[in-house]
């Protein structure tokens, strides 16, 4: 297992998994809150179509967790804000 940082906490993953796969494997299915209804969202389509699984990676917002290979030196934040489309 390799370790990355998600919201300041360590998250173990298997090298080769995406950020979304790593989160789901750790039991997290939701990591974002919608703008209007403040509803929890996580991975839905899993193949880069729906943009539900957006996270901020190394300070870059709007990254699709389902497409992004997890790396040990990666810092992921999920809860700082909502859609991440205002930055």
């Amino acid at each position: 297992m390799t370790r990355m940082t998600v919201d300041g906490e360590p998250l173990d993953f298997t090298e080769g998994q995406t950020v979304a796969a790593a989160l789901v494997a750790a039991g997290r299915v939701a990591w974002r809150t919608t703008r209007v209804g403040r509803r929890p969202r996580g991975v839905f389509c899993g193949i880069g179509v729906c943009f539900d699984c957006l996270v901020t990676v190394d300070g870059v917002r709007g990254q699709r967790a389902c497409l992004l290979p997890a790396r040990a030196d990666m810092t992921v934040t999920t809860r700082e804000d909502d859609d991440g489309d205002d930055g």
């Binding site: 298997t14 090298e15 919608t34 929890p40 969202r41 389509c45 899993g46 880069g48 190394d58």
Partner: protein
């Protein structure tokens, strides 16, 4: 440096079965090929794999079919790469394609070091689009709860990351894709509590011809049936998941028997506990790159619009070819055959000798014909139920991005006079968010214009990209002649 010359004789976008078969055939015919895919490894959704470096840590061979073909295609790619004729562009996202008198310019961003992006521009006189399809979704109350995924999403987590998304999984929708997803999840230890197939068990008996002419498909179905039986999975025909319940995550689903028109039969509703749900109603062809190029589109038999191609997979735009699910959803064998045929047309139009002999080409054409007939029968047997919207409540979210409800979409139709999904978008913002209507488009279309095929909106930018990558474009253009190949 500073050249803007051709990078290849052919650019192939999409490295799934169709794109792989096309690239390998064109390479065998002596062409220089650039093969582009957004994933980090070839295979598409059907042969989705973890990266090569993770194959030992994440075993997935048991989840796949037709791996012999996959390995042969990969070996052929590797051999062509050694000869310097393949420019393999993995983890490159294509965001726009333009055409001029010399051919096509394919704008991509290299995301191998994502989130960092570098603009890479590829040019070729010919372009082959094999961008596949994604799950078609019909909204239902609670479908936006965490733990509700598409069937393809469950499969991608499993095939790509070895992750079983939940412990108690309920699956629903229509079509044969339900079976491999259910079988794979059950084999990997999930408890598949129900598989709800909206179509009736007799759907195939009305026109059994195509199934009888494709016995391999019947055998495949029987194998899945055995796997499901072995794991005690209950397969429920003419049933649908009509609601998902829970607060922070789905905890149960409501399932109901369906009447012939697909409306839930009152009194048949019952609750099934589940922590994970997978849904899919067939597939939507991914036409984002094709629509702006202006090629003719056609109605398919499953309510979707596809790209129109001739018997050689040529679109109506000169130099533009298409293969696989963008031409109509029909499975991996059809995609492989279409990819080969498309590449043969590219070779012929390029003035190169064919790779397949005359007899072999005729056999591939016969395969395409047989599988298309099967796909048509499939579409007839597994339609989107005409009365599916009966399970929507006014406050059911239809557009997940902009959180537009079914009530708002209906009001746009009845009060606002909206006649298609574009007009609904103007009135409600449905389809205006991050996914640009890719998810809600088919459903919104069904709600306002159920008797016409769904044609996606023209999207000029097929994938979001950073301003930095855009600013990088001039630099990328200078590099097209000497891009580093890895």
């Amino acid at each position: 440096m500073g050249t803007t010359g051709e990078t290849a004789d052919l650019v192939v976008v999409g490295a799934g079965p169709a794109g792989l078969a096309a690239a390998v055939t064109a390479l065998a015919g002596g062409l220089r090929v650039a093969l582009v895919d957004s994933a980090g490894t070839v295979g598409g959704q059907f042969w989705r794999h973890p990266p090569d470096t993770a194959r030992a840590a994440i075993p997935t061979a048991d989840l796949h079919h037709g791996l012999r073909d996959y390995r042969a295609l990969r070996e052929a790619l590797a051999a062509a790469g050694d000869r310097g004729r393949l420019d393999l562009r993995l983890a490159h996202h294509v965001w726009s394609v333009t055409r001029d008198e010399d051919g096509f310019t394919v704008h991509t961003v290299d995301r191998r070091r994502a989130p960092e992006e570098t603009a890479v521009t590829l040019r070729a006189p010919r372009l082959l689009v094999a961008t596949g399809a994604y799950d078609r979704q019909l909204p239902f109350p609670g479908w936006d709860l965490p733990g509700v995924l598409t069937l393809g999403g469950l499969q991608a987590l499993l095939k790509g990351g070895g992750v079983v998304a939940g412990d108690r999984v309920a699956l629903g929708g229509t079509g044969p894709f339900l079976l491999p997803v259910a079988a794979a999840l059950a084999a990997r230890g999930a408890r598949v509590v129900t598989v709800c197939e909206a179509a009736g068990p007799s759907a195939w008996l009305r026109s059994p011809g195509p199934l009888l002419r494709n016995p391999a498909k019947g055998a495949e179905g029987a194998r899945y049936g055995l796997t499901l039986a072995r794991h005690g999975v209950r397969f429920r025909p003419r049933t649908a998941i009509v609601a998902a319940e829970g607060t922070d995550r789905v905890t149960s689903v409501e399932i109901a028997s369906l009447a012939a028109d697909g409306s839930p039969r009152p009194g048949t509703e019952r609750r099934v506990e589940a922590d994970t749900v997978g849904v899919g109603w067939g597939f939507v062809p991914q036409l984002d790159l094709l629509v702006p190029l202006g090629c003719a589109l056609a109605d398919s038999d499953d309510g979707s619009t596809v790209v129109a191609v001739d018997a050689g997979q040529r679109t109506t735009v000169p130099g533009l070819y298409a293969a696989g699910e963008v031409c109509g959803v029909g499975g991996a064998r059809l995609s492989l055959a279409e990819g080969r045929l498309a590449a043969e047309s590219v070779l012929a139009d390029h003035g190169a000798a064919p790779v397949l002999g005359r007899g072999r080409r005729a056999a591939v054409r016969a395969t395409v014909k047989r599988h298309r007939a099967f796909a048509r029968a499939l579409a007839r047997a597994h339609p989107v139920p005409s009365a599916w919207s009966r399970w929507l409540t006014d406050d059911t979210v239809v557009c997940r991005c902009e959180e537009v409800t079914a009530g708002a979409v209906r009001a746009a139709r009845t009060d606002g006079g909206a006649r298609d999904h574009r007009q609904v978008k103007q009135l409600t913002r449905a389809g205006m968010g991050w996914c640009q209507g890719r998810v809600c488009g088919p459903a919104v279309h069904c709600l306002v214009a159920p008797h016409r095929s769904y044609t996606p909106t023209e999207r000029l930018v097929a994938t979001p990209l950073t301003l930095g990558a855009l600013a990088d474009l001039d630099h990328a253009r200078e590099n097209t002649g000497g891009a580093a190949h890895e």
